[in-house]
């Protein structure tokens, strides 16, 4: 695509057939020079309602199930309004409407975050590398460079400059969506839900724009299955060196830190470490950088006193970072206009003056909005302050814990504040005698929020007590993670497209999202390993990708060392940060495009229909916490990919659940004949929260089934579903008959027991259609 953002023609005077024109001015918003032969589909740059019909089809089958998190609405001055039961608020909205409205608000926040992140990145990279810098996410291995953008917008970006027009579209849609949440706008919960899907879809485009821009300009791994291994864990940091810590998601300041170190020959003398997605990005930029861990490691790492200077960019950063940093005498540099932390703007000040003020402690931090200046200030500050700080920490010693245990009032406030209901008072009671084992055991399941400390009436630093008790484990946190590889290669899609669509690779399972785990990150690693061993394709991103890495087998290897990084059966593929999630959607889309040769361009509904009916992919966000995670999930729903969340995910207050007992919900058209065919509840749900890891694993296996599975594929998928169910529930699933279409679907090794069930349930054989939910895709009507 060649585009110019604006064309302006000014003509002083022109004579024509219609007369004399003076001071004629023509302004055109955007010119697109088209070089793409593929026919444009029905919905390029779709508006809010262009895909509504598709959404309503999905919502008819996967009806919203609401669990109000608050009975009231307090969004306008009519309120508070009590919406309990079937009451309506002063504006006329009922509880279902209000819940879906809040979901839309959450998804708008999430989408806004990714889109604004993308806009900032694109602006910055254009300024640095120029508008004509080429998009290159995988060289010759990746021809479909931006599958989500091609699908949604119908454009094929070739340069960084091409991304600007796409961002214009996303920002416009986002504003429309947000306006729908105002009092007296949308009144139907289903229409709110359709808008939620729209928010998710544009979020997916925003993520793709951000990631392809940074891959192209910053030379991140380009769809490389053998991306290097990087170190991860609190124990991997060389504490004898000055340590710079970057937190957040938006990489330019962190990249400039690495550049400054390299350019000045200082890299070996300073440790660059990261938390959350900026950590992913710095290892994609330079694999010698180190990842400390997911978002929940923020407090424990800061309090450890190891970081000498802390750089924050945006998203998922603790709001009290400055307060925590002051406890260890480490200055904070804020680098984003969306997260200024109340710090003075020093962007235009001279570098050495800023450094002097930070090192002397005159100011606890600075806001610097110029990434290059952040690079220089951070390094100079770290080098000068490290010898002064001497790794001053805010972690108590054992005597402090014992003293704290003596003073504890056993009021239980800490436990009642803990999201995971951890038995903190009981563990503290054991510490009275110097036995810290119970406190140390809490470490594995602690999500690092420190709500326990805020709740404590005598201000015991309870989170720090836990961290101190687990000090030995912290030091042993030394693991390996494969650096985020970015996109999936076209050739990989060609190789596995058939086996996935036919069901012979039992599924693609993507572990994504945050670290609000019910029982620690180990569960994510265990799930990922189980599915990789079963020859599913396992993908990972964000904090979940880190949690998978922070696990060792008996030989001391992390999952990324055990399994290959290829997009193939048994692969363990880290795509990268949150914004790299777009490559997971991109892989599903590319299966339709590259393998099945479906037209991609502005053809959303058809591709989503393809994915829903044929691509056995499931997203798992076991610790989903943020609004971004909500938006990411909703992008997958509209694309036809079910998402499983952990129990905390129930707090998103709405699931999208199918009813397997309602046969009428599970009919599709056979595209060959137009006949309506019952295909069973596949996939059964679109958004589902599991209580336990075991329940999640069985559901994941079940949700990988699709109407299009061949008999061989369905037999493979069924055998995993049944095997996991027997292992975790001690019984064969009671719904197994719903997934058997013909006797050839029955796994041979389980034939006898399944046949018995089929007989008992009065099962009847059915045909396997060429499935679609879209009448327009029927090739020939029966009788024609």
């Amino acid at each position: 695509m060649t585009s110019k953002k604006k064309l302006r023609i000014k003509i002083g005077e022109i004579r024509s057939d219609i007369g004399l024109l003076r001071n004629l001015e023509i302004s055109v918003g955007k010119i697109i020079g088209e070089e793409w032969a593929e026919e444009v589909g029905p919905t390029p740059f779709p508006s809010i309602t262009d895909l509504r019909e598709w959404d309503l089809k999905l919502l008819q089958r996967y009806k919203p199930f609401y669990m109000p998190f608050c009975d009231l609405c307090c969004l306008c001055t009519f309120g508070k309004c009590d919406l309990t039961g079937d009451k309506r608020g002063a504006c006329g909205l009922n509880m279902a409407g209000q819940q879906s409205r809040i979901v839309l608000l959450a998804c708008c926040i999430g989408a806004a975050t990714h889109i604004s992140h993308a806009r900032h990145l694109v602006d910055h990279l254009i300024e640095k590398f120029g508008r004509d810098h080429p998009i290159n996410v995988g060289g010759l291995n990746v021809e479909v460079e931006a599958p989500v953008t091609r699908l949604v917008c119908g454009v094929k970006p070739k340069t960084l400059g091409d991304l600007e027009g796409v961002l214009d579209y996303l920002e416009r849609e986002l504003t429309r969506l947000l306006s729908a949440t105002h009092t007296g706008q949308e009144g139907s919960n289903l229409d709110f839900e359709s808008k939620v899907f729209h928010a998710g879809m544009i979020d997916q485009v925003g993520m793709e724009i951000a990631d392809i821009a940074q891959i192209s300009a910053l030379n991140f791994p380009r769809a490389d299955p053998e991306a290097p291994l990087a170190e991860i864990g609190l124990g991997v940091v060389d504490t004898t060196k000055p340590v710079i810590l970057v937190i957040g998601h938006n990489v330019p300041p962190a990249a400039e830190i690495i550049d400054y170190l390299m350019e000045n020959g200082l890299y070996g003398g300073v440790e660059v470490t990261g938390l959350c997605c900026t950590a992913h990005e710095i290892t994609r930029y330079n694999p010698k950088a180190k990842i400390i861990g997911p978002i929940s490691w923020q407090l424990r790492f800061i309090r450890s006193g190891i970081p000498d200077v802390i750089i924050v960019d945006e998203q998922c950063i603790r709001a009290d970072t400055l307060i925590e940093a002051q406890k260890i005498n480490a200055p904070v540099i804020a680098t984003s206009d969306v997260n200024c932390l109340g710090l003075p703007d020093r962007t235009k000040d001279e570098v050495n003056r800023i450094v002097e003020d930070l090192v002397s402690g005159k100011h606890p931090g600075a806001l610097i909005l110029d990434p290059a200046k952040v690079g220089e200030v951070s390094v100079k500050t770290a080098l000068l302050i490290a010898p002064k700080r001497m790794k001053f920490k805010a972690i108590p010693d054992v005597n402090d814990i014992i003293e704290g245990a003596k003073n504890c009032r056993k009021c239980n406030e800490c436990r009642r504040a803990c999201p995971n209901d951890l038995p903190i008072p009981e563990a503290l009671a054991q510490a009275l005698n110097g036995n810290l084992n119970a406190l140390a055991d809490l470490y594995e399941e602690c999500i690092g929020c420190a709500r326990c400390e805020s709740a404590c009436p005598i201000d015991l630093p309870l989170h720090s007590f836990i961290v101190k008790a687990a000090e030995k484990r912290l030091k042993e946190e030394k693991y390996k993670i494969r650096v985020g590889r970015g996109a999936i290669q076209d050739i990989e899609i060609r190789n596995v497209g058939g086996p996935i669509v036919l069901g012979e690779i039992p599924g693609v399972v993507a572990f994504v999202g945050c670290a609000n785990y019910p029982k620690g990150g180990k569960e994510v690693a265990e799930m990922a390993i189980e599915f990789a061993k079963r020859r599913y394709i396992v993908l990972a991103s964000g904090c979940a990708a880190m949690s998978i890495g922070m696990y060792k087998d008996k030989e001391g290897k992390s999952p990324y060392e055990i399994f290959p990084g290829t997009f193939d059966a048994g692969g363990m593929v880290n795509v990268g940060s949150c914004v790299a999630n777009a490559h997971i959607a991109g892989a599903a889309i590319k299966i339709a495009s590259i393998f099945a040769r479906r037209r991609l361009r502005g053809n959303y509904e058809e591709i989503a229909d393809y994915v829903l009916n044929r691509v056995g992919a499931v997203g798992v966000a076991w610790g989903a916490m943020s609004q971004k995670a909500a938006a990411i999930a909703s992008g997958f729903w509209r694309l036809g990919v079910p998402v499983v969340v952990g129990p905390h995910g129930l707090k998103y207050r709405r699931m999208l659940l199918g009813r397997k007992d309602k046969n009428e919900d599970w009919y599709v058209y056979d595209a060959r004949t137009g006949e309506k065919v019952y295909v069973g509840p596949v996939p059964e749900h679109l958004f589902y929260a599991a209580e336990t890891k075991e329940e999640a694993m069985v559901m994941i296996a079940k949700l990988c089934m699709r109407p299009n599975d061949t008999t061989k594929g369905r037999a493979v998928k069924l055998s995993h579903y049944i095997d996991l169910s027997k292992r975790f529930f001690g019984t064969i699933p009671d719904d197994v008959h719903l997934f058997v279409r013909t006797l050839a679907d029955v796994p041979i090794t389980m034939r006898d027991e399944i046949m018995e069930i089929l007989e008992k349930k009065g099962w009847k054989e059915n045909i396997i259609p060429d499935p679609t939910l879209l009448p327009r895709l029927i090739r020939r009507r029966k009788g024609e």
């Binding site: 009806k63 199930f65 609401y66 669990m67 109000p68 998190f69 608050c70 009975d71 009231l72 009590d82 919406l83 309990t84 039961g85 079937d86 509880m95 279902a96 406030e413 009642r416 504040a417 999201p419 209901d421 709740a455 019910p518 129990p647 905390h648 129930l650 707090k651 207050r653 699931m655 659940l657 009813r659 007992d661 589902y688 929260a689 599991a690 209580e691 336990t692 075991e694 329940e695 069985v698 559901m699 169910s725 975790f728 529930f729 001690g730 019984t731 009671d734």
Partner: protein, 181 residues
């Protein structure tokens, strides 16, 4: 002792309509006896929680045996029921059960009609908090009882926050109440 209707997780404050406290456990026995179509919903913690006379699931089975209540459990605890030779349990994820309960047309697991009394036990606090919220708002025809040891504001009736010992004593009273015909 005066009990306070306070959510166990401090911030989980719902709205104006809150559960009545079960100050006398005999009320639960009476409600179960009076109900035409009761159902027990059992969470995975029923197998984990140890009481002086066994696991929580043993109390669940005693209550189930003394009533005509249907029993459904989250799938992961099914094997515990099987181990104890309790066969009339339907394994189903909690969100699926609740999604059926809010459907007024649903005829129940045995096809004989919807339920009028839902008893939940053995769940992670915030899980049943949210599920009970759904039932409170979207199935007003159903009464709900939380038998877990912490106050669940979205139920129709709930125990207050209590110690393990107190909880067990209360469960014992409920069982004894059900034994009286």
């Amino acid at each position: 002792m005066a009990r306070r209707a306070e959510p166990w997780q401090t911030a989980e404050i719902p709205g104006p309509k809150k559960a009545l406290l079960i100050n006398k456990p005999e009320i639960v026995s009476a409600l179960l006896k009076r109900s035409k179509r009761p159902i027990l919903i059992v969470g995975h913690k029923a197998g984990e929680v140890k009481l002086s006379s066994g696991s929580l699931i043993d109390y669940v089975i005693r209550i189930a045996d003394l009533t005509k209540a249907s029993v459904t459990s989250t799938p992961v605890i099914q094997r515990e029921f099987i181990k104890r030779n309790f066969k009339r349990v339907v394994g189903m994820p909690i969100v699926d059960i609740a999604n059926r309960l809010i459907d007024k047309e649903w005829k129940g697991f045995n096809g004989e009609g919807g339920y009028d009394l839902v008893v939940v036990i053995g769940f992670t606090y915030y899980v049943s908090w949210l599920i009970l919220s759904s039932l409170k708002h979207f199935s007003p025809q159903i009464k709900t009882i939380s038998l877990d040891r912490y106050y669940q504001p979205h139920a129709s009736w709930s125990f207050p926050n209590m110690s393990l010992d107190e909880w067990e004593k209360n469960l014992e009273v409920i069982v004894k109440g059900l034994e009286v015909k």
